[in-house]
């Protein structure tokens, strides 16, 4: 089989610590090649080598039979390998066209030809089947999905032979994922190969022709997707079979009194939300992106308070008009965006862990530190020490610091917004186990998630938001189809066609 990209014996170490060893990989033209593995398996490093961000210590990369070496991202682009990173490489104050042609703006007589640039951008987008994004629009005015399309168009504008994508659906809603799929189909039809990195195994099986599994910096296997099952793939990734991926409810977990009640709660983002959370219960909240799920959590947590309806905590009505008030009522809100609202990246593990407690309780510092250490230890945080800055931690470990920060406040009600986004399989499993333990201890947990298996696997009940309203309440163990129907505004009761 002829391959467009051949990687042989690729290796990379950081500070003497090997993160990639002896990788042999072939990518064929027009294929979607899945790259899976836990965080720390070396996927990002491999992608960054192909993108020209890192230079390998050992091995060769051959493109169309010619050996290539990239010292700079632009060389990789020029050679025909483009990368769409999870954090987009777009300047938000510039237009779509200016972003796509950045650093190689077409010129006539020394001046940049903006008209030509806009025209070419329009054609480029049209070739992807996208006509709804004007080339002259500022990137800051685009949705996340549209920004991603701009990234892909940018990759394509370099006449990319290979486009690698890092978790491209992480920030997309269901219908936007469908658009991404159709774009990938158009790309492969032209012979462009896609290197697809994702934690979402469903997508890997939906899209990929072949799958390569990395583990601890080594290549475990490359196989035809059709010859693998999900269970086998997970086993290859973690080296052990997670038979019960979602841990069972712990013994002695009892659903007790109502901890939190919302009656017709609403503000300008959500309306008439009726919701009861009981002690010891895990409630899942489903819905498309923009359905108002985060806004419900923000209402409860006092970030963007409800202006209508009532909120009761353990039977007592209260007004949660600021995060401080909510925290004092033992409500913990673990936000979706760890880096922006969960952590102070330049500060140490310990400073982050103590941030909330220091703000609201007169607890003695030594006692707080002691308890923080205990909690961090119980969460199995792997960091160099409590004084290590959190920006150096992996996503999973950063999430543990966020959790520790909130557990230190001894919450009664725990709100989780997309808690497993961007963390690896092992860290996910640890989080699920922690949720079960917290439920057993009598906490009420409300989890917003876009991953249906997670919602179904973990929730006692699932509530569904649609356009700012809570439209359905489904029992745990409901089917994905039922949830999707309710989330897209179809009545859940309607029989399947």
């Amino acid at each position: 089989m002829n391959s467009v990209l051949q990687i042989r014996g690729l290796g990379k170490s950081f500070f003497g610590f090997p993160v990639l060893r002896g990788i042999d990989l072939d990518v064929r033209p027009g294929e979607v090649h899945g790259l899976v593995g836990e965080n720390g398996a070396g996927k990002s490093t491999l992608m960054k080598i192909l993108a020209g961000v890192y230079e390998p210590d050992a091995g060769t990369v051959t493109l169309d039979g010619k050996p290539v070496e990239f010292a700079h991202p632009l060389q990789a682009y020029a050679a025909g390998i483009s990368t769409v990173f999870q954090e987009f490489n777009l300047i938000s104050e510039r237009t779509v066209a200016e972003n796509i042609y950045m650093a190689r703006e077409p010129r006539t007589l020394g001046l940049v030809s903006t008209a030509g640039m806009n025209r070419d951008t329009g054609e480029l987008l049209a070739s992807l089947g996208v006509t709804s994004i004007p080339p002259t629009r500022k990137v800051s005015d685009l949705s996340v999905a549209e920004q991603q399309i701009v990234e892909i168009a940018k990759a394509l504008s370099f006449n990319a032979r290979i486009i690698s994508m890092d978790e491209p659906t992480a920030a997309l809603a269901g219908h936007e994922v469908a658009l991404l799929y159709s774009i990938i189909e158009r790309l492969t039809a032209r012979g462009v190969a896609i290197l697809y990195v994702s934690h979402r195994l469903r997508e890997i099986f939906d899209l990929c022709d072949r799958i390569t599994v990395l583990k601890d910096g080594e290549l475990v296997a490359t196989a035809e997707a059709s010859q693998l099952t999900e269970t086998e793939l997970v086993r290859l990734m973690v080296g052990r079979s997670i038979s019960a991926f979602f841990p069972e409810k712990l013994e002695g977990t009892t659903v007790g009194d109502v901890a939190l009640t919302l009656r017709s709660a609403g503000n300008t983002s959500v309306n008439a939300v009726d919701l009861r959370l009981r002690e010891g219960e895990i409630v899942g909240m489903a819905g498309l992106q923009g359905a108002g799920r985060t806004e419900v959590l923000e209402g409860i947590a006092g970030v963007n308070p409800f202006t209508r309806g009532t909120v009761e905590l353990l039977g007592h009505p209260l007004r949660l008009t600021s995060p401080r008030k909510a925290i004092r009522k033992r409500i913990a809100y673990i936000t979706e965006d760890r880096k922006a609202t969960g952590l102070s990246l330049n500060q140490s593990v310990m400073d982050n862990a103590l941030a909330v407690v220091r703000a609201v309780t007169p607890l003695r510092s030594a006692v707080a530190r002691q308890r923080a250490n205990e909690i961090l230890e119980s969460l199995e945080l792997s960091a160099r020490g409590p004084d290590h800055e959190v920006k150096f931690l992996s996503g999973g470990n950063q999430q543990k610091v966020v959790l520790a920060k909130w557990l230190l406040t001894e919450p009664k009600v725990i709100l989780l917004d997309e808690p497993t986004r961007g963390i690896d399989v092992g860290a996910k499993h640890a989080l699920y186990t922690l949720m079960r333990t917290l439920a057993q201890a009598g906490n009420a947990i409300l989890m917003v998630s876009s991953e249906l298996p997670e919602l179904i696997g973990m929730s006692d009940r699932i509530v569904v938001m649609h356009e700012g309203e809570l439209v359905a309440e489904l029992p745990g163990g409901s089917s994905e189809e039922q949830i999707v129907r309710a989330a897209s505004g179809l009545t859940a009761a309607e029989p399947a066609a």
């Binding site: 991202p73 300047i91 200016e98 650093a103 940049v112 903006t114 806009n118 700012g468």
Partner: protein
């Protein structure tokens, strides 16, 4: 057609439009207040005064805009203005033969000082505030050790240039506008100019896109030095002598930064426009002119300036808040038939 509309939008982006709305408001207030003391705001004398006070600050602020666009600051500008004026006047020594030599000496020295800041900020990666503070202090030390008071004398040609006007418009103001137009072309239609926005917007992204990150920073600082040098020459043209303290007395460092911010630029970089900065300068110039007419205590002027800066930036900050369309009215009902997909359209 579409591209033209896009260009128009960029030129008159919402914040720039706001700057000029504020300017118009201040002109109206000025006209009314002038009328209350029985004076007219739009006399040719007043306009000339207004344009004159726009010119020197204009040169400095054009450079400051570029520096702020790349996410840096230039605190060395008042010292460069002073240095340029004493070098030019010193070399010229009142002789016509030395005109070109004087101009070149001043401008080359000014650009070189800007370039030094550019290297410190762009290559050595020293924070712009600190780097230009340091460079400014060094120039200041040189200036005030070697020059006590005004020095040298302008060539007759340059002095003439400083006194000629076309109607109420001083020729030096026209030169400032010419520089503004050239710089507009630079930031809007050349790669290096566009890359200033990119580097200021997100240096890491710019680097990943293949931009040499230090280059736009270096060019912005060098041009800021050069334009401050031009400002110094205008001072020589007006005064006929070099004045080491001309820049510091006027406080061009903070005043130019204030004008750029008043013009809608973000101090974090990547956002701002030269038209906006010009609007900011004109706002200051209008207030100065008005207070001159009203014979306000000069120290009160600074109070008024301070108030204007704070109010204007507070207004911009409100504007910049994310415009998430309300789905429900505060009372409870659906706000409008606004599907979320339309939000982007409406925001235009």
């Amino acid at each position: 057609m579409n591209a033209q509309a896009g260009r128009m939008r960029r030129v008159m982006s919402s914040s720039t439009a706001t700057v000029y709305l504020v300017l118009i408001g201040i002109v109206i207030v000025s006209v009314i207040l002038s009328a209350t003391v029985g004076r007219s705001f739009f006399t040719s004398g007043n306009i000339e005064y207004l344009l004159t006070s726009t010119t020197v600050l204009g040169f400095v602020a054009i450079g400051q805009t570029l520096v702020i666009l790349v996410g840096s600051l230039d605190l060395s500008v008042p010292y460069i203005v002073g240095l340029s004026s004493v070098l030019a006047a010193g070399v010229m020594a009142g002789s016509s033969q030395n005109l070109i030599a004087g101009l070149l000496t001043a401008l080359v020295a000014a650009a070189c000082i800007g370039a030094v800041s550019g290297v410190l900020v762009g290559v050595v990666k020293i924070n712009g505030f600190i780097a230009t503070l340091g460079v400014g202090l060094m120039v200041s030390g040189y200036l005030f050790t070697n020059y006590r008071g005004n020095t040298g004398q302008a060539s007759p040609g340059l002095a003439a240039l400083g006194s000629i006007s076309l109607g109420p418009v001083p020729v030096t103001t026209l030169i400032m506008f010419a520089v503004l137009l050239i710089t507009l072309l630079l930031v809007g239609r050349t790669r290096i100019g566009m890359h200033m926005y990119a580097v200021g917007g997100d240096a890491a992204v710019a680097r990943m896109s293949g931009i040499r990150g230090w280059m736009p920073v270096f060019v912005a600082h060098t041009l800021s030095g050069l334009f401050s040098g031009l400002a110094g020459l205008v001072i020589v043209a007006r005064l006929g002598v070099g004045s080491p303290a001309a820049g510091t007395q006027a406080g061009y460092d903070l005043l130019s930064i204030a004008a750029v911010v008043l013009g809608g630029a973000a101090l974090s970089g990547g956002k701002g426009s030269l038209w906006g900065s010009l609007g900011g300068i004109l706002i200051f110039a209008c207030i100065d002119t008005m207070m001159g007419i009203l014979q306000v205590n000069p120290y009160l002027k600074d109070v008024v300036r301070g108030v204007i800066i704070i109010i204007a930036v507070a207004v911009y900050a409100r504007q910049a808040m994310p415009r998430v369309a309300a789905r429900f009215s505060p009372g409870g009902g659906r706000a409008v038939e606004s599907a979320p997909e339309q939000i982007g359209e409406d925001a235009r």
